[in-house]
């Protein structure tokens, strides 16, 4: 439980861990139960209405919303931004 929480970067209080274990096991058991249904002849459903993945053309900044060149906006919410970079606590291996 503690490992899953740390992988997901969720801070869980030590004392809450114990009662979360049965809750999680319930969920896992339920998913396990779903596995009993024979789906070998069923195509996986990827969307509720039939549709295909759209592709975009290879054009730079085609749409102002999804293009680059907006450093100020990108950095606006950063806790630390210096010289055009995000600043984060030193992470080095």
């Amino acid at each position: 439980m503690a490992k899953i929480a740390s992988l997901a970067r969720i801070d869980v209080d030590e004392k809450d861990l114990d009662h979360m274990v049965p809750e999680f096991n319930n969920i896992l058991a339920w998913v396990e139960q779903l596995g009993e249904v024979d789906t070998s002849s069923v195509e996986p459903m990827t969307a509720v209405i039939p549709q295909e993945l759209r592709l975009r053309d290879d054009v730079v900044d085609a749409d102002p919303l999804t293009g680059g060149g907006k450093r100020d906006a990108i950095l606006a919410n950063a806790p630390v931004a210096e010289h055009g970079f995000f600043g984060v606590p030193k992470v080095i291996e």
Partner: protein
Amino acid sequence: MSNYRIQGATGQWEVVIGLEVHAQVTSKAKLFSSASTEFGAEPNVQVSLIDAAMPGMLPVPNRECIRQAVRTGMAIEAEINKWSRFDRKNYFYADLPQGYQISQLYHPLVGEGQLLIEADEKAGIPEDKVIRIERIHVEQDAGKLMHDQHPTMSYVDLNRTGVALMEIVSRPDMTSPAEAGAYIRKLRSILRYVGSCDGNMEEGSMRADVNVSVRKVGDTELGTRTETKNVNSVRFVMQAIEHEAQRQVDVLEDGGKIVQETRLFDPNTGHTRSMRSKEDAHDYRYFPDPDLLPLALDDAFLEACRESLPELPDAKRARYTGELGLSEYNARELTAEVETFARFETLLAATAKGIGKPEKDVATQVANWSLSVAPGVIKALGDEADVSHATAERQASILDMQAKGEISGGQAKEIFEIVLKTGREPGEIADTEGLKQVSDTGAIEEAIDTIIANNADKVEEYRGGKDKLFGFFVGQTMKAMQGKANPQVVNQILKDKLG
């Protein structure tokens, strides 16, 4: 089988190598956003709201990136999966604001393929060898962290975040550093022929994760492997394998065990070291990305990809030795790099046209010129050479004059030198600089008559059977003609006159 072995105290060890090559796809925009992929921009200028993982943004794949990965797959004779899907690889690190990398674990775009590495006795590859490629999938690159700009902070540049990568995963089919080096060079060559990656390892367009394990010669089970991450040159890949294999043998010979782990290569020492990551670092909890539908490709798209493929290195090499009659060596040298064969083919076409012969009749002459004569002259001139003067037309015109016997090999070089320095036309240089050999039989005959008259004794000896003296007469004639006589014409006339 390569004969690369490591001698340990208890016997000989062999090495098993697999490579995961990350190749940056050549595209103008990123894989899922329209931000630019250009190298060398100011930090965070080429970052879209998608790349920065702002809430509510949805990725839409770039068709060109998919097309280039498909073409690459076709170039390695791989199965192309018409149905593939994107998955999330979850991890938290400052170079990836999404908290996951969009990749393809379960259903990659490209399946099983292969490439051929050529025999190279000197490098220790005794025969041609097929290296199987397990898959190619498409994924996002991460950003760049700089650790040395601030005492307590790391700086993050997300320009590279979201740029399309192909991860090309080989089977563990290589058994020596030389084979791994040959594999990367061949892969790089194919990528550059296809145009799906510029193959520039210095700029990080291609980097390799190197999987190495060792086992006793004769064992069939694979040993435990380590993965050395992000090695960015052919030489470093070979060094990393050498060092890592030796380290594993040392550990095992001392009775130790190899830990499956991620290691880093240090180019300064040539050594690898453990990244000492936490064990759970590899628990990526992959699942299908709910933001993206499966990628379905139709036959028309695949057909267009196939039709756009150029002649590939192996086919080109075979054509050079077969149709053009070039030597194995010349064919290999000329086909190694895109620029080299492009220059060669342009010059070959121009020369064949100028001389009015089929390409195969002039191919060897043009190959020798392109591979040794021209580079030799350019190198000797150094800074004085302006290679932009060396157009295909000018070089073809030099080769044309040489083929016709108007100039000698030496004169061809001299004329090329002047072309490189000044950009003048070869024909005009030959005329005004006196760089033409005399094929005018009258002048040569006159010179030879004089020599025969002045050397009656030698003529007598020659006719008496002293064949070696022929060289003396050639020498005298060339001297009399100040080295400008066409040697073939001289030989012919001498033979006629000396009888």
